[in-house]
């Protein structure tokens, strides 16, 4: 990490006088400044337009006492849905990543990787429709099963929703949507494991799986966490799929993810509510958006931080 930084600085100091370099440096600098200005602009816009929500009364806040109670409940639902999605994604993406990087013969690894990448190209509306019409009906018996057998876990307290358009179903859709990016990063992380360490394990008489457990997984631990956090960032902000799948309208705080009374997510709340546009209600929506912006930013930041720390350490 430091080596590349040093290289960069010596490079530019050596060749900074060449016009081509100056132009290139100028444009990249301008582009990155533009992005920062733009981000700051979004944050300021949200803060200014959302500020009136602080004075909103319960009639505009779904009967919550103040805007923080409302946004808090929504953030709870957002994090819950995204976290469940990540719990589903983690084993899938680690397994797929390993298959692509270490198990499949190269002829097979390429198309499998490509198929997973294709998932990223499916529009979220399509995911939403699929969630409603294909997944939900099939999930209904699963809901019954979970409530019957695992009802003692607060998540599955029930009663089971008749339509299965619940936070659980929404989380599964979210998981599928986050799968490509997370798998792509996992694959990259796994294939970075130095050959020397893998050969060391094999030379000791490790099977392939033992070699993976001894070298690939421990070496990639921070990369795997970063991949999941980046996927979490994606799942947090996902709007359409959740808004479509989730049948709930009220705003409650509930661990229960299988009943028809679910927590709602910020993004879905905004998507469901923006048509009822009295100025104060719009302010409430924007305030909720600001909270989501901050949360997503934080999670992505954390993911990047862990990713860079991992590469420096490695």
């Amino acid at each position: 990490m430091t080596a590349t930084l040093d290289e960069k600085s010596t490079d530019s100091s050596l060749s900074g006088k060449r016009p081509g370099d100056a132009i290139f440096r100028g444009t990249t600098l301008a582009a990155s400044l533009l992005v920062i200005v733009f981000l700051a602009g979004v944050a300021i816009f949200l803060a200014v337009k959302g500020a009136p929500a602080l004075d909103a009364g319960p009639e505009n806040l779904r009967d919550k006492a103040n805007v923080f109670a409302l946004v808090g409940a929504l953030l709870f639902g957002t994090v819950l849905a995204a976290a469940i999605a990540m719990i589903i994604v983690a084993p899938l993406s680690i397994g797929l990543g390993l298959v692509i990087s270490h198990y499949a013969p190269r002829r097979l690894a390429k198309p499998v990787g490509f198929l997973v990448d294709l998932l990223a190209a499916v529009p979220s509306v399509v995911f939403g429709l699929w969630g409603i019409f294909v997944l939900a009906p099939r999930m209904q018996p699963v809901h019954e099963f979970l409530v019957d057998w695992f009802g003692w876990i607060p998540l599955f307290a029930g009663p089971a929703s008749g339509t299965a358009r619940t936070l659980l179903t929404a989380s599964i859709v979210l998981a599928l949507m986050a799968l490509p990016i997370v798998t792509a990063i996992m694959r990259e992380v796994f294939s970075q494991t130095p050959r020397a360490h893998q050969e060391a394990a094999l030379a000791l008489g490790a099977t392939r799986w033992e070699m993976i457990r001894m070298t690939v997984l421990p070496y990639g631990r921070s990369g795997m966490v970063a991949a999941l956090l980046l996927g979490l960032g994606r799942a947090l902000g996902e709007t359409m799929a959740v808004a479509m799948v989730l049948s709930t309208t009220g705003v409650i705080t509930s661990w229960n993810i299988v009943s028809s009374q679910n927590s709602n997510t910020v993004a879905a709340f905004i998507a469901q509510g923006y048509k009822e546009a009295s100025p104060i209600r719009v302010a409430v929506l924007i305030f909720a958006g600001l909270a989501l912006f901050a949360l997503t930013f934080l999670v992505n930041f954390l993911g990047r931080a862990i990713a860079t720390r991992g590469t420096v350490k490695g």
């Binding site: 130095p194 050969e199 094999l202 030379a203 000791l204 008489g205 099977t207 070298t215 421990p218 631990r221």
Partner: protein, 259 residues
């Protein structure tokens, strides 16, 4: 415990590329055999074929027969994993597992073989292996520190300790000293002398003096011409190789008149 290795008519390929052709030799048990020769002539390739590490590379394969103590390594029913437990390997660059402590590094191979091991047995193996690798006195107070925190020479001896902890029959070493200073090198050469009484050792080296110092027998590999596959030019007792070799090419290489 130590075993002899018979190599007959071995050709080694990387995909379609024939890297080494027609190798025949017998590596004696409880002796040190050195491979020397110019870069790219296939020393590492032959060495890696002796514990089936060669086939870790996609497309790589071996033709011919390699027999360790009567067992054909490449017989269809032989599991490469089992072969590697018998024939250990030390690499050119020290490669201790970065996420493991010194203690865990040494014990890592044994954990694979026998999952259950009580603490005192494990402690015993760790001490014995580290003593065997001449590293015990330097690390006994920091066994739980990461292996990557040691010096290069210490790391290489840690890798040797790791390799001998599983008590293999044969120990293969690919230029084990090339990344080390003279003092660490000499420590490892002493170690090879001691290990010889228990193991069959094969070592690749670019250092003629080292081959002369540590080995009982030497194989000289060379390329017929650039682009041609490598072959074993001469295989003889080290004394003879360095005083009165059969081939003029060997003499030219050893005396440095030849790259």
């Amino acid at each position: 415990m130590a075993k002899s290795i018979d190599v007959s008519d071995v050709n080694i390929y990387y995909g379609d590329f024939l890297a080494v052709e027609g190798v025949n030799m017998t590596i004696r048990a409880k002796s040190v055999t050195a491979f020397i020769g110019p870069s790219g002539c296939g020393k590492s390739t032959v060495l890696r074929s002796l514990n089936r590490m060669h086939e870790v590379i996609p497309g790589a394969r071996v033709e011919g027969k390699i027999v360790v103590d009567g067992q054909d390594l490449y017989a269809p029913e032989v599991d490469p994993v089992a072969v590697r437990r018998q024939v250990g390997m030390v690499f050119q660059r020290p490669n201790p597992f970065p996420t493991m402590s010194i203690y865990e590094n040494v014990i890592s191979g044994l954990r694979l073989n026998s999952k259950r091991m009580n603490k005192s047995t494990a402690d015993g193996v760790v001490e014995k292996s580290l003593r065997g690798a001449n590293l015990w006195n330097e690390v006994k107070d920091r066994l739980n520190k990461p292996g990557a925190g040691l010096s290069g020479g210490q790391q290489q001896r840690l890798c040797i300790a790791r390799a001998i902890a599983v008590q293999p029959d044969v120990l293969l070493m690919d230029e084990p000293c090339s990344a080390l200073d003279p003092i660490s090198t000499s420590a490892i050469e002493d170690l090879i002398h001691e290990l010889k009484s228990d193991y069959t050792i094969v070592i690749v080296t670019h250092n003629m003096q080292q081959a002369a110092r540590v080995s009982d027998e030497t194989g000289f590999f060379n390329l017929k011409a650039t682009g041609e596959p490598g072959r074993l030019v001469e295989f003889n007792p080290t004394k003879k190789m360095f005083s009165n070799p059969d081939e003029s090419a060997t003499e030219a290489y050893i005396s440095g008149r030849f790259g």
